[in-house]
């Protein structure tokens, strides 16, 4: 199974097979750029098709690594790790990228934007997200985050002539850089704090966990963790680090918004989980005068507060919105809060089995969120038409029986986002709430379900507008291009599949890769 360079090569511990999915995505991204530069400018189906093919290949190799990879499960001196957390999130971000590609192919053409550039940016962003999922080293995670962020800044402002898109891009860039700085500072402080006698500090997450108890400068460690928490909190859009979200989501082109709400959030959660759950894990019961225990208790408690804030602020603010994209932005903040509930459970779990089940619940939650959210944005994009002009609530008045397919699909996604049984959203919520109750967080779960009840109000509002009101202005049904129809069918089926028969997916997410013994 020595695919390219065997383990016997001159450099120690280099194993390209382990980063095969990332490599495929990067190589295809470069190919797409070259195709765009040297191919004819009318051939945007070629770049789109190539990109999609690359994503499928990457997904196939990820599944191969998961199911039948016989080799070691870490490489590059422990910088890349192969576990269910990384592989699960890799598949989620690949799915997000593929769906985004499907809904953006026609959009790029209609708005006469440079297709090849867009597709390669999307692929680079995906590669960044995959590194965030599989990186086991703070530096790799930061690298992945920056690859992702820079590509996303450009994508947000891709419609260069549009003032809103420019505003969105600039806001995202300034605040994003700010949060990256926080993260980097946190990494630096952690590095310093983990220096122990005779050895320099470390950025390797496993090593950090090992050295926690002997950390020389606990305050430095606390400050580093806090700053990383702020950085990740910004990326996954949790309150109180959420203020950028509505503006950026509203201004960015709808397919990019769909991508940003699903992809970077999932990737952010992947590395957020990895750094905190594995880097600052539960070692001994809190209450001891031990740095590790104190740090663990502190970050779990902080996340409880963040979860409550995100759910409450997201849901309450979403009620008063009049723009669908802004409403979905606040809803995405609320959903980050629900995912944090599962995160808290993963953090608090002392038993590795329970911890992995909780991590799988977060992965599953973000998978369901990605499917239903991209589905919702697909409909929003179709109704918004060229230039994203129709995104106000009143644009949805009475279209229910004029465009029944779109309206019922959107209804399904809204009910799923609410968490109606038989849809993906319900199983996702059950999973995270279950994990939290398992750890005894009853109050947090009760706050979560009350928030769900609040969210009924604004998700229903869209349904009410579409079906219960009469249309007063003229309505022409938007044409549905084949690629978007495919994305719509996939997301609708996905919502039902994950809602009715989620067993296989959940089991897969909880399954460890075959070989977990390091061969070194």
């Amino acid at each position: 199974m020595d695919l390219f360079f065997a383990q016997h090569s001159l450099l120690p511990d280099i194993n390209f097979s382990l980063i095969m999915p990332e490599l495929i995505v990067c190589v295809v991204a470069v190919i797409v750029m070259l195709l765009d530069a040297f191919g004819r400018s009318t051939q945007r189906w070629i770049t789109g098709g190539t990109a999609l093919f690359g994503l499928l290949m990457a997904a196939a190799s990820t599944i191969f690594l998961w199911k039948s990879w016989p080799g070691p499960n870490e490489a590059f001196n422990g910088m890349i790790v192969l576990d269910e957390l990384g592989l699960g999130f890799t598949l989620v971000v690949l799915l997000v990228a593929a769906l985004t590609l499907l809904i953006s192919i026609v959009w790029v053409e209609r708005e006469s934007l440079p297709a090849g550039e867009f597709h390669s940016l999307l692929l680079f962003a995906t590669a960044g997200m995959m590194l965030m999922a599989s990186g086991n080293d703070l530096v790799i995670i930061f690298l992945g985050l920056e690859i992702l962020s820079i590509a996303t800044y450009v994508m947000a402002g891709f419609r260069r002539t549009d003032v809103r898109a420019n505003e969105s891009s600039l806001k995202y860039f300034i605040l994003g850089s700010f949060s990256s700085a926080f993260l980097l500072y946190g990494i630096a402080l952690t590095y310093g704090a983990t220096a122990i006698a005779g050895m320099p500090g470390t950025t390797n997450i496993t090593q950090i966990a090992n050295r926690l108890s002997e950390a020389q400068y606990p305050p430095l460690l606390f400050a580093g963790a806090a700053m990383m928490l702020v950085g990740f909190g910004f990326k996954v859009a949790t309150a109180p680090f959420h203020v950028w979200t509505p503006d950026v989501y509203e201004g960015a082109p709808t397919p990019v918004t769909a991508f940003m709400a699903a992809g970077p959030k999932a990737a952010g959660f992947a590395s957020f989980l990895r750094v905190f759950v594995f880097g600052f894990p539960f070692l001994i019961a809190a209450g001891e005068r031990n740095t590790a225990a104190q740090l663990h208790g502190a970050w779990v408690d902080t996340l409880v507060v963040l979860a409550i804030l995100s759910m409450t602020i997201g849901n309450v603010a979403a009620i008063v919105q009049n723009n669908v994209k802004r409403m979905l932005a606040y809803s995405s903040i609320a959903h980050a809060g629900y995912a944090l509930v599962g995160f808290v459970a993963a953090g608090a779990a002392s038993d590795p089995v329970q911890r992995n089940a909780a991590i799988a619940s977060v992965t599953f939650y973000l998978l369901t969120y990605a499917v239903m959210n991209i589905g919702a944005f697909t409909v929003v994009q179709l109704i918004a038409r060229a230039g994203d002009r129709r995104t106000e609530f009143e644009d949805y008045n009475g279209i229910g029986f004029q465009s029944p397919v779109l309206a019922f699909a959107l209804t399904l996604f809204m009910l799923s986002l609410f968490g109606m049984p038989l849809t993906a959203g319900f199983v996702g919520k059950i999973m995270v709430f279950r994990a939290a109750i398992d750890q005894g967080y009853y109050a947090l779960v009760v706050i979560g379900v009350l928030n769900t009840a609040i969210s009924a109000y604004y998700y229903l509002r869209l349904i009410i507008l579409m079906f219960f009101r009469e249309r007063t202005t003229a309505w022409t049904a938007p044409p549905i291009p084949a690629s978007i129809a495919l994305a719509l069918v996939l997301t609708v089926l996905g919502v039902f599949y994950l809602g009715i028969f989620p067993g296989r997916v959940i089991n897969a997410l909880q399954t460890k890769p075959v070989i977990s013994v390091s061969q070194r």
Binding site: A453, F467, I506
Partner: protein, 517 residues
């Protein structure tokens, strides 16, 4: 035959899919949608009659199916019927074709979606009554909200949006708390036995024979409360009833029939099955307070019904009163009272369902439901008036009609119950019957009798064959249930007695002693 219940759940969904499929045909005709729906609902009813043969008088579940559903969560697809749920399933499948027939001419817009939602609602309701897995039950309980939300919101009256949202949010809030309690129960079981379960039969068995002790207060009380609030809202028990008059009044006729006939029964069924079945100790401890709320509901609903100028609102408030009786019977913890409560659920479904049909018929003719607009309808509409009077008398509880049996049993049960001041409770509840006579008869007098005062009423059409056809089965059922309740009570006895034993056998803590005789 072993999959009868699954077929019953899926057949209406299949009907819905057929309706959608037909709607995609290029040469479809709007009037055929209702035929498809009618055929499927009649087929469901016919199939559901097969349940009668297999359900005896024992407390055990029949027609059970149990397969793994979501292994990772621990939820199973476990369905089955006993003597209680059997009748509720039959009530559902009987009312569905009637509801569809009642919309035959009154629903003209978006017929495809209308019948689709009715059929989906039927599936969800059947699912609620046959689920023996808590998560599966929750799933159907919640899923029944969506079709009804659309039915009220699209085909309802003027304030339909307000009513639909209120209905949805009230019910959703209650049931979401129940979800937390369901997951909580799962882990309480898991802490004791290693692996958790949502299976009702397993949980109840473990609680009944004492192997699973739910931690006493406040845990048991909170779990009990989380379930109870969901069901109290659905019943609805005073003071959580405010969604009901709006929803009933604004819903289209078929929606009101289903709401009153079946959806409210989900609440009382849930109280019987889950609250009393899973938390016997807490049920006994809290019975006095619940009984007080039920009695307030009986009297309040009746008094408010009396002053309603709108016939439909009057019937809606009478539901609050009648459902109060059911709750009273359930929490009397006597054989008579609980069986009477189950019987009264069926009675209420039949007679209030019929009353809403009558209201729908005059609304279709006059486009108003205000009592003041009518008067002397017995002259132009003799058949209508006769049948309306019979249905009203059944709702009041006249002997030889079904309402009497249920209310009599409930009051007998309450009188003989172990509650302190049981006689006082019975007396107060008894006034509810008198009030019912007052508001129903007064309404009948103003609507049906006297001279025709409004010229618009002079030439009203009497019932046509379709209308007669959908009313007659219900009226015959009222008579039959009034004179020969045995076949019904025979089957409900087993499960009710088993529950009763469990409640009386439950370890009485210190807090219980105060309510013992």
């Amino acid at each position: 035959m072993s999959h009868l219940l699954t077929i019953l759940i899926l057949l209406p969904v299949a009907g819905g899919l057929v309706t959608v499929g037909y709607g995609m045909l290029p040469n479809r005709r709007e009037e055929n949608f209702k035929w498809i729906a009618l055929v499927f609902s009649l087929a469901t009813f016919a199939l559901s009659l097969l349940l009668l043969r297999g359900t005896g008088s024992g407390p055990e579940f029949r027609f059970e199916e149990s397969v793994q559903w979501i292994g990772a969560i621990g939820s199973r697809y476990h369905v089955g019927v006993d003597g209680v749920s059997l009748w509720l399933v039959l009530l559902t499948t009987l009312l569905m074709p009637i509801a569809i027939l009642s919309s035959w001419t009154s629903v003209t817009k978006q017929q495809l979606a209308y019948y689709l939602f009715l059929l989906l609602l039927a599936s969800a309701m059947i699912g609620v009554f046959v689920s023996l897995d808590l998560l599966l039950f929750y799933l159907f309980f919640e899923a029944s909200l969506v079709p009804m939300f659309f039915l009220i919101g699209i085909w309802g009256g003027e304030r339909r949006i307000y009513a639909a949202v209120k209905f949805f949010i009230y019910t959703a809030v209650g049931s979401l708390l129940m979800l937390v309690a369901i997951i909580g129960l799962y882990f309480i079981y898991a802490n004791k036995f290693g692996a958790g379960t949502f299976d009702y039969v397993v949980l109840r068995e473990a609680i009944a024979n004492g192997t699973l002790a739910i931690p006493a207060s406040p845990t048991e009380f909170l779990l009990f409360l989380a379930f109870a609030i969901a069901f109290f809202i659905k019943v609805p028990l005073w003071p959580l009833h405010t969604w009901l008059p709006d929803a009933h009044t604004e819903a289209p006729t078929a929606g009101s029939v289903i709401l009153a006939g079946v959806l409210l029964k989900m609440g009382t069924y849930g109280l019987l099955r889950f609250n009393i079945g899973l938390f016997p100790t807490a049920s006994r401890a809290w019975a006095p307070y619940i009984v007080i709320l039920a009695i307030i509901g009986i009297i309040y609903g009746a008094l408010v019904a009396m002053v309603q100028p709108d016939v439909k609102r009057l019937v809606a408030y009478s539901s609050v009163s009648h459902m109060g009786f059911v709750v009273l019977g359930l929490f009397s913890f006597t054989d008579y009272g609980m069986q009477g409560a189950v019987y009264q659920m069926l009675n209420h479904g039949v007679s209030t369902g019929a009353l809403f049909l009558f209201v729908g018929m005059i609304y279709e003719r006059r486009h108003t439901r205000m009592i003041g607009e009518f008067g002397g309808l017995s002259t132009p509409m003799p058949w209508f008036s006769t049948l309306f009077v019979i249905a009203s008398l059944s709702s009041i509880g006249l002997p030889f009609l079904n309402g009497f049996v249920g209310e009599f049993l409930i009051m007998l049960g309450t009188w003989t119950s172990a509650l302190s001041h049981a006689w006082l409770a019975t007396m107060f509840a008894g006034t509810g019957v008198i009030w019912a006579a007052v508001y129903m008869l007064w309404m009948l007098q103003r609507v049906l009798f006297g001279k025709v005062t409004n010229p618009k009423n002079e030439a009203l059409q009497d019932l046509n064959v379709r209308e007669l056809g959908l009313l007659v089965p219900l009226l015959l059922l009222m008579l039959f249930m009034g004179v020969y309740p045995r076949p019904f009570l025979d089957r409900t006895r087993g499960p009710v007695e088993a529950l009763l034993q469990q409640v009386q056998g439950s370890n009485a803590g210190g807090s219980i002693a105060s309510i013992e005789k």
